[in-house]
């Protein structure tokens, strides 16, 4: 096995601002109702991802990025509950929905729609409160997910090939051997050596990096428009992480799919994404072009975050400037701007009273902070 010193010359991918959205979140709210109170994990998130875009959602643990990602496909387990907002996706073809409905024709009673009745954007359908068949037609087919822990996210008692062919056959009926061939192809595509053999392996027979490749192969099996990768490299070593990021980048360029990359590692985000959304305590506090934001962050949290990580080549003489204090307890969510108690630019009477406004500039750079109110 040889390493190939590759030069990654994807000179800043141009993003088409008018490309059709593959996912649009409006006011998404997810709560966890616990015995001691309610934790609002996602607190009114608006986000749009367009075709071909790679969006990194960054934030520290507890900022709600993972819950947000899971809320999109309604994968939040009890006691989590989506209590508001809507998830808009391009309306799946009726044949796809019928297939997802399966043999049992009976319609399940529709769940109550917590979302306010907003008019659906052109050609989109809201997933919250939708017919389960529609949700299933979107899951895996239009939007696929890759999770953090490939070991626990794969079923340990099923062969990896079977887990992939299941996903293939679910959305595109085909004979088992054809599906198997496709699974082998996919495994080859994600860089697994000897895929004819590995297709019959169980997850525990593979290394961490290979398992994550299997997860990616499974996610790609139906050519999704959007891949949601939830901390896909966090459990991996730095060299394996580089392999996986490389793979994701090449797959994205080859297939033109959009990626939502959930990560706490700003370095990982910078390596793959075009745009970034910074989350803090369930809110998106800043959103825009990644290079732009990392070069000149506007929100005090983003600035503090970028200041607090050591950069390679900086040496040991420049002192890091950490964010003050701790992330607040979930029950003790600060009023007004959730970041105000750790913020260096805190303005009493302003930041702690009302939620900060969303400021948007001409380049589409959005920030939720009173500091920029004058700019408007």
């Amino acid at each position: 096995m040889l390493q190939t010193p590759t030069s990654d010359q994807t000179t800043s991918r141009r993003l088409d601002p008018d490309a059709p959205p593959v996912l649009q979140l409006t006011g998404l709210r997810t709560e966890f109702q616990l015995e001691d109170g309610v934790v609002t994990a996602v607190d009114g998130v608006d986000l749009t991802i367009r075709r071909g875009e790679t969006l990194a959602v960054v934030g520290e643990s507890g900022c709600g990025k993972s819950v947000m990602a899971r809320s999109i496909l309604q994968l939040v387990d009890r006691p989590g509950r989506i209590v508001g907002g809507q998830v808009w996706v391009p309306r799946p073809a009726s044949t796809e929905v019928e297939r997802a409905r399966g043999r049992s024709r009976r319609r399940r009673r529709r769940r109550e729609t917590p979302a306010e009745t907003t008019v659906a954007p052109e050609g989109m359908v809201g997933l919250i409160g939708a017919d389960p068949a529609i949700i299933r037609a979107v899951r895996g087919k239009r939007i696929a997910m890759v999770f953090q822990e490939p070991m626990t996210s794969l079923s340990a008692v099923h062969r990896v090939g079977d887990q992939i062919t299941e996903a293939i056959q679910l959305h595109a009926p085909m004979p088992k051997d054809v599906a198997r061939e496709r699974a082998i192809d996919l495994l080859r595509r994600v860089g697994i050596a000897a895929p004819e053999k590995r297709v019959d392996a169980y997850p525990f027979e593979l290394s961490g990096g290979m398992r994550q490749r299997v997860m990616i192969a499974m996610a790609l099996s139906c050519d999704p428009e959007l891949l949601i990768a939830d901390e896909p490299t966090t459990a991996l070593d730095v060299t394996t992480q580089a392999q996986i990021l490389e793979l994701l980048a090449s797959l994205r360029d080859e297939r033109g799919m959009a990626i939502m990359l959930i990560t706490h590692d700003l370095g990982v985000a910078a390596q793959l994404a075009d745009s970034v959304a910074v989350m803090y305590l369930g809110n998106v506090v800043e959103r825009g072009d990644l290079a732009e934001i990392f070069r000149s962050p506007r929100h005090p949290y983003t600035r503090a975050l970028l200041r607090s990580i050591p950069k390679l080549g900086q040496g040991r003489d420049i002192r890091l400037a950490p964010v003050r204090g701790m992330v607040p307890h979930p029950f003790a969510r600060p009023s007004g701007c959730p970041f105000h108690d750790r913020c260096d630019s805190f303005q009493p009477g302003r930041c702690d009273t009302a939620p900060p406004p969303l400021i948007r500039d001409d380049q589409g750079h959005e920030v939720r902070c009173v500091l920029y109110e004058e700019d408007k």
Partner: protein, 358 residues
Amino acid sequence: MSQDTDVVDSEVVRTDTSDVLLETRQLSKYFPITKGLWGRTVGQVKAVDHVDLQIRQGQTVGLVGESGCGKSTLGRCILRAQEPTSGEILYRRTDGEVVDLAPLTERQLKPYRQDIRMVFQDPFSSLNPRMTLADIVGEPLRVNKVVKESEVEDRVAALLARVGLRPEYLRRYPNAFSGGERQRVGLARALALDPRLVVADEAVSALDVSVRAQILNLMKDLQADEDLTYLFISHDLGMVEYMADEVVVMYVGHVVETGPTADLYRRPQHPYTEALLSAVPNPDPNAAKRRERIVLQGEVADPSDVPSGCPFRTRCAYAQELCATSVPALREVSPGRRVACHFSEELGLRGIEELGVA
């Protein structure tokens, strides 16, 4: 085991060692692989394999490598939290005398346990949830009878204040604290006995980014104030650069390269170091776009079945025939720089600047 003799034969250059606080010589830790009903030993996982390491007084040595490379095991062997299989751990006492800690019994070791302390990775499992901070931080004081029982609490309160926690937290249990605060408690416990060397095993890896910097800064301040020496074990090259004066790179139980931090990052001499540096994700968008990345193929070698010759050769782009047959010894290639590669002088490896990660 030809490779053992190879390594032993190699000439270990020792320059001025008067400021060396702790040194390991040919330190090894093998874990037996047992089989069957009565636990027969059928093989060995060579977690640490004949490692020479020097830690100078007042400095921070960064120990880096991927998971499973043996860096944590090495740290724990130095602390004698794990029994080394063979080798020496030479420790220079305050009176200048050098003792080998490896063969000492638990009783003989006790005074040295006060000098060499540890900070753990997991701030949750390293503090006994059933004890208050006063008990946790006071435990080493009580066990070693450093201060009178009546003074223990005052000492603990002072220690807590020293690491930035309120002394009133004395009566609280660890579950009232966040990861960052628990790590401060861990530091207070380590500092309780006025140690000379602190082994920090991934001490901040489990923390959130914003809190991580707080702890790193605190560790630096403590080092300056208390004349501490750190062995800073981490997989994060960015943090190691921020903390360490000297870096030791490990790969499947072997030290493959050592040197002063800045120099090693600018001019790596081992292909593995080069690859590691190139893989570091950097949040600078300019760097990310123009970088030249080396993506290593394959997986880390299995420490129970290390490849012949150079353990890294199976993943190395520059591997030649010699690499499969002969174990490269860790040799001094320039003052202060040691590397275990046959061809390091010829390769012209790229550092962080050429790789575009800085």
